[in-house]
């Protein structure tokens, strides 16, 4: 097992290399050189006033006088020490800004993923067992429909009906804590947080929920058709034992690895939902950075979230091998 994990960790290196190269070159796509942009942003200097000297000096200051591959290497060298530079907007270190926002987004998304799994597994089992009857068909259709709803559309509907539009004013629609929450006790704070994140979490969850339930249903149906299930039934085991002890255990295995395909969508999905609900998370930070062309922040978010996703996939893969003895570490690449 140790050698497998070591091998996987080594495989992270080329992938991380690819991720940083792509991020670096996407930034190079930006029209106009960053020097002029920076000079304009910083001093508000008029374009004519920028002499060649100033441009050269600034280029030197930011290392832009060197060829692109050297710049890339310098950038990578700084990233290794977690130095993502400082934001163009307020000159604070990027790592600090990201560090403030990351817990918010992570907690929102972890709650949402947990809820999605918590609801979808029983739902998937139910619809696989009751296959073909009316309630199953209704559930399956609703899940299918949920999968096609744009999340921001649902967010707007929820705000309209539950967030103090013309109907009920049940949930807050801004931020994650009420004003004055600094003086709350821990329990009050936690409840206030949960109250604030209800609507955003619904919007983040329903899509994954629909996807996971369908997946769980399909995977259980597949297992139920296997020979060993027939054997278990034939030797007279009660249905519940066959279902929960024999079938479900096997059907849960593929759904673990699915987490790998949910994770990368986290930051992307958060961009829209966080900007609708004004949640101070990574998604909102990223969107603001894109709007103000805050390159260091954009690069940091892309790199960090890709790295977190890679780690997530690795953990999912290790779990996969641990729960399924048929798969050995050696046979998986």
């Amino acid at each position: 097992m140790r050698s497998y994990i070591l091998k996987r960790l080594l495989l992270l290196i080329p992938t991380l290399f690819g991720i940083t190269v792509i991020t670096f070159f996407v930034i190079q796509l930006a029209p106009g050189s960053p020097v002029e942009r920076k000079l304009n942003i910083e001093e508000g200097v008029k374009a004519e006033a920028i002499t060649k000297d100033i441009v050269e000096q600034t280029k030197k200051l930011y290392g832009l006088d060197k060829p692109i591959y050297i710049r890339y290497l310098i950038w990578v060298k700084r990233i290794v020490t977690l130095d993502f530079g400082s934001s163009y907007k307020d000159h604070r270190p990027v790592i600090e800004k990201v560090g403030e926002r990351l817990p918010v987004t992570l907690s929102l998304n972890l709650i949402s993923i947990f809820l999605a799994y918590f609801i979808s597994i029983p739902l998937g089992v139910y619809s696989a067992v009751k296959e073909g009857n009316l309630s199953e068909r209704v559930i399956t259709f609703i899940l299918f429909a949920l999968y096609s709803i744009p999340s921001f559309w649902l967010a707007m509907i929820l705000i309209y009906f539950l967030g103090g539009g013309d109907f009920w004013n049940v949930f807050p629609i801004y931020g994650i804590l009420s004003p004055g929450a600094e003086n709350f006790t821990f329990t009050e704070k936690a409840l206030d947080f949960l109250w604030h994140i209800t609507l955003p979490v619904i919007c983040l969850t329903y899509g994954d929920l629909a996807y996971l339930s369908r997946y769980q249903r399909g995977s259980l149906l597949e297992v139920l058709r296997e020979d060993f299930i027939r054997t278990a039934k034939a030797k007279g085991l009660p249905d519940s034992v066959v279902l929960f002890k024999h079938a479900l255990r096997n059907a849960l295995i593929p759904i673990i690895t699915i987490v790998a395909s949910i994770l990368p969508a986290m930051i992307g999905g958060s961009v829209i939902i966080e900007s609708i609900f004004s949640i101070p998370g990574i998604g909102q930070l990223g969107f603001e950075a894109v709007l103000s062309r805050d390159y260091p922040v954009i690069m940091a978010i892309a790199t960090i979230s890709a790295f977190l996703t890679l780690v997530g996939i690795l953990v999912a893969d290790i779990l996969y091998v641990l729960v399924d003895p048929r798969i050995s570490f050696e046979s998986r690449r």
Binding site: V26, L29, W153, Y160, S275, T309
Partner: protein
């Protein structure tokens, strides 16, 4: 199985697909939407389809006439001689024509789906938006499929080091926060409709590539492929002519789901202000206007939302029906 003996593979798939009534209905919905997209000018616009004027017939939508240059058709209609007529499309407003006297009016006889904040007819914008939204879906997925088939095919066919390198590339693209990447690129380049198609396509190929790679790895072991190589077929000929047709069905399924995904991505981009640039209409664009008027402009939320939902569901249902049809194990299992 014996009943199918005269049918080709695709014939069998089609037969299986037709049995799934829901998926079949969804296919018809998609065809109707394509029809709306193709004939948008005949359905909504301020140019008449047919005019009989001074005893002559004109088709202003199809041909341009020198004598009709600069003619206001609405005025023309009012001063017609007996026997002449003007035939307008069912929706008489162009998607960009704004009427500042009727801004944000709810659905009425004049404007069946109401008007937006510039007094533009929402129904007309949605009819014209159909073409934009669908073409973004189809072309983005087309680009993604080409990249995916090429990279996946090469990885699966050659294996070894080539496969290793391309697989790392899959991993890189998979771990990226794709929506964020799209947003960043569109913020740096201008968000024209072509850039949107290219960026969605260029970031959305991993699913298809992995499928093709898996199929090619499997097919590579077959005797017929070895025979094709042995007969001296060059690599690309073997890949495209002999292997690809056998790997195409799952790719088409993935592509159908991909179209649904691409349409959703475009609406998301429009919502954030990085979608199709104005004045071109897209569903996401209409929907995003409602953001500012959610308190009362329900028609700006409901109609485009329903259109997006209907289209995405239709593509997903077709993809699902198609998936069951190509998988004999699932053939009898529908909901």
């Amino acid at each position: 199985m014996t009943a199918d003996k005269n049918l080709s593979y695709w014939g069998t798939v089609w037969k299986g697909f037709k049995k799934d009534r829901l998926a079949f209905t969804a296919l018809i919905v998609i065809l109707v939407l394509c029809g709306i997209a193709l004939f948008e000018n005949f359905l909504a616009g301020n140019k008449p389809i047919l005019i009989k004027w001074n005893g002559r017939l004109y088709f202003p939508l199809i041909f341009t006439y020198r004598e009709l240059y600069g003619v206001d058709f609405k005025e023309l209609e009012e001063e017609l001689k007996p026997g002449d007529f003007v035939l307008f499309p069912p929706v008489r407003y162009s998607p960009t024509e704004s009427d500042l006297l009727s801004v944000l009016t709810p659905p009425s006889r004049e404007h069946l789906f109401g008007t937006d904040d510039r007094g533009r007819d929402v129904l007309s914008r949605m009819i014209h938006g159909t073409r934009i939204s669908l073409s973004i879906g189809f072309i983005a997925v087309g680009i993604a499929s080409i990249i995916g088939i090429l990279l996946g095919g090469i990885a699966g066919y050659y294996g070894g080091v080539v496969d290793f390198v391309i697989s790392r590339l899959f991993e890189v693209m998979m771990t990226f926060p794709v929506f964020f990447l799209i947003l960043t690129i569109l913020a740096f380049r201008d968000p024209s409709i072509y850039n949107i198609m290219i960026v969605i396509g260029a970031t959305g190929w991993t699913g298809i590539a992995r499928l093709v790679r898996g199929e090619f790895l499997r097919l590579r072991e077959y005797d017929y492929v070895e025979a094709a190589i042995g007969l001296g077929g060059n690599d690309f000929r073997v890949m495209l002519k002999h292997m690809l047709p056998n790997a195409l069905a799952p790719v088409l399924v993935a592509a159908t789901f991909g179209i649904a995904g691409a349409i959703l991505v475009e609406t998301g981009l429009s919502f954030l202000g990085f979608g199709v640039p104005p004045p071109e209409p897209s569903w996401g664009d209409v929907l995003s206007q409602s953001q500012r008027y959610v308190d009362f402009a329900w028609w700006l939320v409901l109609f485009p939302g329903a259109a997006i939902f209907l289209t995405v569901t239709a593509f997903n249902l077709v993809g699902d029906g198609f998936k069951s049809a190509i998988d004999p194990r699932l053939r009898k299992r529908k909901f």
